[in-house]
């Protein structure tokens, strides 16, 4: 794919996403919630953190030339070393025959002499791809099925309920592993596998909320005015359950990042050669048992992952509180 097309597609994707979120947040309720969120300092801080991570991930997606992303370009002056080197060290990390380093590495270098900070930042892209692809599959699926079940009831609801209770009966991690093993490695396959388990919770939530919304007078009013079913769902029900979807997407993202580490540990995670936090943490098992221990790749990956997941979780909680002040 040429550079300009890649960047254009990315730009278009971001534009569509922003438009979707803004378009669905036009209800009065979400205005009030956003006003409440504005006073929530922890929530805002977390939102800023999440945006930073998104920017780091995007920086590795936007290309400056066919072989380098913006992130690579920013790190172009950081040379590759010959092996491990500790953070801020001047020589490589070995007892005998330590060689002077060519450059300066804030978080040290790994086995192959790659800069750990760069690898960690590249992990943002992997997390973003996994989270983004999975969300792109499971959010529409879960929302659609949930709304259909909650709105039409009867046999439609029975079918939706049957579908999610059956899927929920298979323990999530086992289903994930089984699907990953049958489909094979790869970020796209991982997204499919993760979506299969992720949509269940969302579908349940949306279905319950749709039940509640469909019983409200405004839906009766819309029907009395002669609006079509699809219009009622799209214009009235969907905006009123959208906050659940957004909160679920944020909390779900953090869950996906955590699950990726387990999958990587089990050996069915990101393919070889992809910089992911899960694989970095998995490699750290061996590195810590070296003498002296190599701790910085583990520290770098897990602290970054922790910051992202914590921010996502706290932001999700803040949003939930903002939308539903009584419940939280």
């Amino acid at each position: 794919m040429p550079v300009w097309l890649n960047n254009l597609l990315l730009l278009a994707g971001c534009g569509v996403l922003v438009a979707l979120v803004r378009g669905f947040l036009f209800t009065e309720r979400s205005h009030r919630a956003l006003n409440r969120l504005r006073r929530d300092r922890v929530g805002l801080l977390c939102a800023a953190m999440v945006v930073l991570f998104l920017l780091a991930g995007l920086a590795d997606c936007v290309l400056v030339n066919p072989r380098q992303s913006v992130l690579d370009y920013a790190f172009r002056n950081v040379p590759r070393e010959e092996g491990y080197s500790a953070p801020l060290a001047r020589t490589t990390y070995s007892e005998r025959g330590a060689k002077p380093l060519r450059g300066w590495h804030l978080m040290g270098t790994d086995l192959l002499g790659k800069d750990v900070l760069l690898q960690t930042l590249k992990g943002c892209r992997t997390a973003l791809i996994i989270g983004g692809l999975t969300s792109a599959i499971y959010l529409p699926l879960g929302t659609l099925l949930g709304i259909l079940g909650g709105y039409f009831r009867g046999w439609v609801d029975d079918a939706v309920q049957y579908l999610f209770s059956t899927m929920a009966s298979i323990p999530g991690i086992l289903l994930l592993v089984a699907v990953m093993m049958t489909l094979g490695k790869g970020l796209d396959r991982m997204a499919i596998a993760l979506s299969l388990t992720a949509w269940i919770g969302l579908c349940r939530l949306v279905r319950g909320e749709t039940f509640r919304q469909a019983a409200k007078p405004y839906v009766d009013a819309a029907r009395a005015l002669g609006q079509s079913q699809s219009k009622i769902i799209l214009r009235h029900i969907l905006p009123n359950v959208m906050h659940l979807v957004i909160i679920n997407a944020i909390l779900g993202f953090s869950g996906l990042v955590l699950t990726e580490t387990i999958l990587s540990y089990l050996g069915v995670g990101a393919p070889v050669g992809t910089a992911s936090w899960g694989t970095m943490i998995d490699t750290a098992r061996m590195e810590l048992s070296r003498e002296p221990a190599v701790w910085w790749p583990l520290a770098s990956a897990s602290i970054t992952l922790f910051m992202l997941v914590l921010s996502l979780n706290l932001l999700g909680d803040s949003l939930r509180r903002a939308f539903d002040p009584k419940a939280a």
């Binding site: 009966s169 089990l266 998995d282 583990l298 897990s302 922790f306």
Partner: protein
């Protein structure tokens, strides 16, 4: 009550059928028997070896023709002589099949792994439960204070650390800082077992605590908002009495249902912790199966996990019905 029980049991039949179908589809359609044979025997396996493999596992008949997936349309064969019907029969008779890697019956492997798994999961579950309930009651007791707010943030922080980091860090600290060994292995000889399970159990409790505390706190907070709490307070019951007697009794129903639903799962062990600490439980069995691409074990594990889930669901329903007579009338 019996009536209700039978109704719940019948309700599970279609779900079981659905699970059977999904498991079958995963290991017969998404991954074809031929692919599984190649993964098992290596990509350079001879045609003869693959044919033998397929024949031994009942994927092809004597003439080497593959069995049909769902319905057998051949004249002299019964219509139900197909892969799906056969796997249904195996599932329904609790025949878990054999390991693709070693040929050992999976049921035997599971029987062997259940006790070590329970040695880890059961203590971790019980101790973790009490700790989580205690901590969440404390948070509810000091509701809306800085302690509550920061306690909740701490819980979220605990939830935000991946289990692998907990294990790697825990193992490293105990081995290098406290000089505590063994950090790996297992036996079943009275007190020496304790030395092996202490660390994994501690790590499991710590890693699960944040999420549990937060969940129980939400359950109890839901109760605190009910009318009967206000009534009790209005009648002059002390803050502690309202929480520990009035609220806890009602909140406990929700907690018990969660506990009952989780109990059957304890036997499945834990994937990451067991393999890290070399505990020969079911989690380890699964991890090894993944590494060896042993689809036989994975298939059996998925089926067993689903059965345990549904069993837990049934138990929950029964407990609920026993505690609350209104449920049975619905």
């Amino acid at each position: 009550m019996l009536n209700y029980f039978i109704r719940r049991l019948l309700y599970m039949v279609p779900i079981l059928l659905g699970v059977m179908f999904i498991t079958f589809a995963l290991f017969n359609i998404f991954a074809t028997p031929h692919e599984m044979a190649l993964q098992n025997l290596g990509p350079k396996a001879s045609q003869q070896a693959v044919d033998n493999w397929l024949h031994n596992r009942g994927y092809v008949d004597e003439q080497g023709r593959p069995y049909p997936l769902f319905i057998n349309l051949e004249k002299d064969k019964a219509w139900y002589d197909s892969l799906f019907m056969r796997s249904m029969k195996r599932f329904a008779t609790f025949d878990l099949g054999t390991s693709f890697a070693t040929g050992e019956p999976v049921a035997q492997m599971i029987k062997r792994g259940a006790i070590p798994s329970l040695c880890i999961t059961f203590p971790a579950f019980v101790v973790g439960l009490f700790m989580a309930i205690g901590a969440s009651l404390l948070l509810v007791f000091v509701k809306d204070s800085p302690l509550d707010r920061w306690g909740t943030v701490l819980c979220v922080a605990g939830m935000s650390i991946p289990i692998t980091v907990y294990v790697i860090f825990g193992q490293w600290i105990t081995a290098n800082v406290f000089n505590y060994f063994p950090a790996f292995g297992f036996n079943l000889e009275g007190f020496s077992t304790l030395r092996f399970i202490a660390l994994p159990v501690t790590i499991m409790i710590l890693s699960g605590l944040g999420g549990d505390v937060r969940m129980y706190r939400a359950i109890f907070l839901e109760e605190v908002r009910s009318d009967y709490i206000r009534t009790a307070q209005a009648k002059g019951a002390s803050h502690a009495r309202v929480l520990l007697v009035h609220m806890f009794k009602n909140g406990a129903i929700a907690v018990i249902t969660l506990v009952v639903a989780a109990l059957p799962f304890l036997i499945m062990g834990t994937l990451v912790v067991e393999s890290f600490f070399g505990i020969p439980g079911l989690g380890n069995l699964m991890t090894t199966a993944i590494a060896q691409k042993d689809f036989g074990v994975i298939q059996a594990d998925v089926w067993l996990g689903s059965l345990l889930y549904l069993f837990g669901l049934l138990l929950t329903d029964l407990c609920y019905a026993a505690a609350d007579p209104r449920i049975r009338l619905q």
